[in-house]
């Protein structure tokens, strides 16, 4: 019982020390519990449309949370043990058996674990409703939720985290048990060292590797040409090389380059012989050396999570832009189907803002784009839909983002989807398109555009050509299509009706079949068939009806779920790494107290001490995150070259959020550090 009381006392005395740790654990438990309760509550999930997917995602994520928490708790525990090794030694010296010391630590750990668990569960029960509402909102579902609670989720959460805590506690106790007395009293080796030739070598190589990696990533599309001896895999090999260079370079940066830079700064007397700079530089060298490995890990993990988050947003933006390319209009329908569709819309009382129609001529064509990457779009041989300039401009009423064009009879504008254009050189030079029609054999391509009037899903081969009215007149077509566009607002009703129409008519499609072997372009024509066709060689098809709003909804749901999950996972990641760095810093504060006491005796004011502490903390804290952000930026840059200049704003915002949260941690740490140092 004495032991239990002692454990309780210890845990209470050190609680302020453990606060960050307990909070990070509690937060993870809260999120784990909430995900679990959402996945298991019968009332909640059936209301969600894609319930299997959501349930799977929630459960998988909570599994990863457990894995991550296990790693975090393991690390934090090892750290605490290291901090208290002298205490263990003292107990041992006082004649407490090692078995009892082990037990003491076991009990303390258990207490801390229980506090985290209870705190996490209480928060979970309170917050799960909020989290569920957030998920529903992101999934675009309206549903009244009551307080979510299930004993099964409580049981599962409790048992999993208790098992984790017990495993860790047993591990700690066994560590204590196996330690030798002498080892426990051994002082840490001094972290000072002279700069050797290895620092110059390693530090130089580290900086060179980072420089090489960043430069190659930034100029990826031009640098890739120098790697063509890898053949067509060059575009994959280069990023791998860059990845290795970043991993090794970052490691060397922390192990050697930083020491080297700080040492050189210290030797630069005009810089370093100034106020506290000498002390700050020396302390930084010591700290960064001690924290080298964890800083590296945080840098890499930050880069990885940010890259994942960033690429997710890129994919979302990409899918969004694909949708905008394919179906910018609420509904398009082929003329012959338009009567029943219009009737359905009118019956449902959906106010139609505008309608617009055009005739598109289908001809066979051939052109070749210049490629920037080894990813070659190559030559296109196949059918394309041709629209005349007047019809193009008429569509600006519904699609205001259609750029205005002027064309002579010899000119045309090539319409290519943004995705298929990925990796093409931005400058195409003089480009021409060959047409297989008796009157017109060739047209100059004035420019390439990615905005299709009516949307690319109304163009055969998803490729289009805008020509002047006169040229259009003279063009003999293989076939013709006549899309009709309906513009109406996105409401729950219009979405439902669109979905219904797509279900009824969405299966019908035009199919286009080559009349001859493609090898002989002069004889290539396309024959228009209505679905279904028996022949398998009908390579090109065009649905008669296309709708936009149900797809918008699906996309939002998909992204909402992903954003929800990655958001919480990265929240846990930030909390965990932030706490680890914070703990390490505060442990050092205790060590450095005598140093600051001495500086005060030498006549250093409080203000200067505060400043020195803040600048040191800022560097140790923000360096890993900053470097991680830089790494992620370049990774996303390459991805973006592949996926074709998509919008990265969202990824930047997330990076900024990281930076803000870490700055908050940094501020807290610096304050606590200062208080610890000032303590008499």
């Amino acid at each position: 019982m004495v032991l239990l009381r002692l454990a309780f006392k210890n845990a209470r005395a050190r609680f302020s020390h453990y606060l960050a740790y307990v909070l990070a654990c509690a937060l993870a438990i809260t999120i784990f519990f909430s995900f679990n309760v959402m996945a298991t509550t019968a009332k909640f999930l059936p209301a969600v449309a894609q319930q299997q997917r959501v349930r799977f995602a929630l459960l998988t994520t909570s599994f990863f949370i457990v894995l991550f928490m296990a790693a975090f708790m393991l690390y934090a525990n090892l750290f605490f043990m290291q901090q208290r090794h002298q205490e263990i030694g003292l107990f041992n010296l006082l004649g407490v058996t090692r078995w009892r010391i082990g037990l003491l630590f076991f009990l303390e750990n258990l207490l801390l674990g229980l506090v985290s668990l209870v705190l996490g569960l209480l928060l979970g029960i309170l917050l799960s409703k909020l989290l569920a509402m957030l998920l529903l909102r992101l999934l675009d579902i309206t549903l009244a939720t009551t307080l979510l609670f299930s004993w099964a989720a409580v049981g599962q959460t409790t048992s999993i985290f208790l098992v984790l805590v017990v495993i860790l506690a047993v591990m700690d106790a066994s560590l204590v048990y196996r330690h030798r007395l002498a080892e426990l009293f051994r002082q840490k080796p001094p972290a000072t060292s002279h700069i050797s030739i290895w620092h110059y070598l390693g530090g130089g190589i580290g900086l060179l590797l980072l420089g090489y990696a960043y430069w190659s990533a930034q100029n990826y599309s031009s640098v890739v040409h120098h790697y063509l001896f890898f053949g067509s895999t060059a575009f994959m090999v280069l990023p791998l090389l860059i990845l290795v260079a970043v991993l090794v370079g970052t490691y060397l940066f922390y192990q050697a380059s930083l020491s080297l830079i700080l040492q050189l700064l210290r030797r630069h007397k005009r810089f370093s012989y100034h106020g506290l700079r000498l002390v700050t530089l020396a302390n930084l060298a010591q700290r960064l050396k001690r924290n080298g490995s964890i800083s590296w890990l945080v840098t890499i993990l930050t880069a990885i999570t940010l890259t994942i988050l960033g690429s997710m947003t890129i994919l979302y933006a990409g899918t969004q832009s694909v949708l905008n390319d394919e179906q910018p209009v609420a509904l398009t329908v082929e003329k012959q189907l338009s009567a029943p569709v219009k009737k359905a819309l009118v019956q449902a009382r959906i106010p139609i803002r505008t309608t617009q129609t055009a005739r598109l001529k289908v001809v066979s064509a051939r052109f070749k784009l210049r490629s920037a990457l080894a990813l070659n779009y190559g030559a296109y041989v196949g059918p394309i839909s041709v629209i005349r300039l007047t019809d193009y401009h008429a569509m600006q009423q519904i699609q205001p983002d259609l750029p205005a064009l002027t064309l002579t009879e010899q000119q045309s504008v090539l319409l290519i989807r943004q995705v298929s254009n990925a990796g093409q050189a931005s400058h195409q030079g003089r480009l021409a398109i060959q047409l297989n029609t008796p009157q017109i054999k060739k047209l100059a391509v004035k420019q390439i555009s990615h905005v299709f009037p009516y949307g690319s899903s109304n163009y055969v081969g998803e490729t289009g050509l805008v020509v002047s009215d006169q040229t259009y007149q003279r063009l003999a077509a293989d076939a013709q299509t006549q899309p009709l566009a309906f513009d109406f607002a996105h409401t729950a009703k219009s979405e439902r009706v669109s979905k219904h129409l797509a279900k009824n008519y969405g299966q019908r499609e035009w199919q286009f079949q080559p009349t001859t072997n493609k090898a002989n372009f002069a004889n290539l024509h396309f024959q228009q068939l209505m679905h279904p066709v028996t022949e398998n060689n009908a390579n090109y098809s065009l649905p008669l009806l296309n709708v936009r709003y149900p797809r918008v909804h699906d996309l939002r749901t998909l992204f909402g779920l992903d954003a929800y999950i990655t958001g919480f996972v990265s929240l846990i990641f930030i909390m965990a790494t932030g706490s680890i760095i914070m703990l390490k810093q505060l442990a050092e504060a205790a060590e450095n107290r005598s140093q600051y006491a001495l500086l005060a005796k030498l006549g250093l004011g409080r203000h200067a001490v505060r400043q020195a502490i803040y600048s040191q903390t800022v560097v140790t804290f923000l360096l890993p995150v900053g470097l991680g952000l830089v790494n992620a930026y370049f990774a996303l840059h390459i991805l973006n070259v592949w996926l074709n200049q998509l919008d990265l704003t969202f990824a930047y915002i997330i990076g900024l959020v990281y930076l803000v949260v870490y700055t908050g941690y940094c501020w807290l740490t610096a304050n606590a550090y200062y208080k610890l140092v000032q303590q008499k």
Binding site: P190, A191, T192, H194, R266, K269, R270, S272, Y273, H274, G275, L276, R277, L278, V279, A282, N283, A285, Q286, S594, Q595, L598, L599, A600, K601, L602, G603, L604, G605, R606, H607, A608
Partner: protein
Amino acid sequence: MPLIDVHDVHKVYGHRLSLVTAVAGISLAVAQGEFVGIMGPSGAGKTTLLNMMATIDRPTSGQIKIAGKDVTYLSERVLAKFRREQLGFIFQDFNLLAALTVRENIILPLTLAGLKVPVIEEALQKTVHLLGLTAILARYPDEISIGQKQRVACGRAIINQPQLLFADEPTGSLDSQAATELLRYLTTINQQLGTTIVLVTHDAFTASYCKRILFIKDGAIFSEIVRQGSRQAFFQQVIDMQATIGGGGNANGPFTTSI
């Protein structure tokens, strides 16, 4: 006018219920260029008195003037500047910063004072030459002997050419040889640079290097002796006085060393 003028200083520690009087009404004066020792048994209030004179600690009541200026109630900021510019310190446990090299440790007070690089370099050369530290400037404190560490601390204390040097048990961690060496350096500093030194010790051998010794017991001045003849004779005087006071301070320190 004396350099240090302590007038009826009291220092009381602790809470209401358990007050401890460390210094109970001490008055003393130290003239410019003196080498004064403060001796007394453990707990007599030596270090408290020194800290108050060195402006690290404030008296509960009474007045301390340094160079005619009352330092008792100056603000923390002014005191910090005063310490930086006028005072030097040597401690028993050296208090060197482990992360800095010997060179950086020595020049620290000057960089804090914001001096220019050439001025710092010149002062460094002078100090290093005086204390014989030239060979170890690039080393870290972990890489030099204890005696060298104390000399480095001494170098740091005198590099800003303070008017006043305070030493709190400077030989406490040293072996006899290193202690003798350090005391000779302190004597040199006192004589050549004219630096006033106030030294706290409870070791008679160390004290015998002073010109005048104040004995403190239970927070008050017990007696005072002044060196007139040889150091050896003075040492004997110190031993006799210690025997009179009792509560021996001879238990540790290089007392058994031949003199």
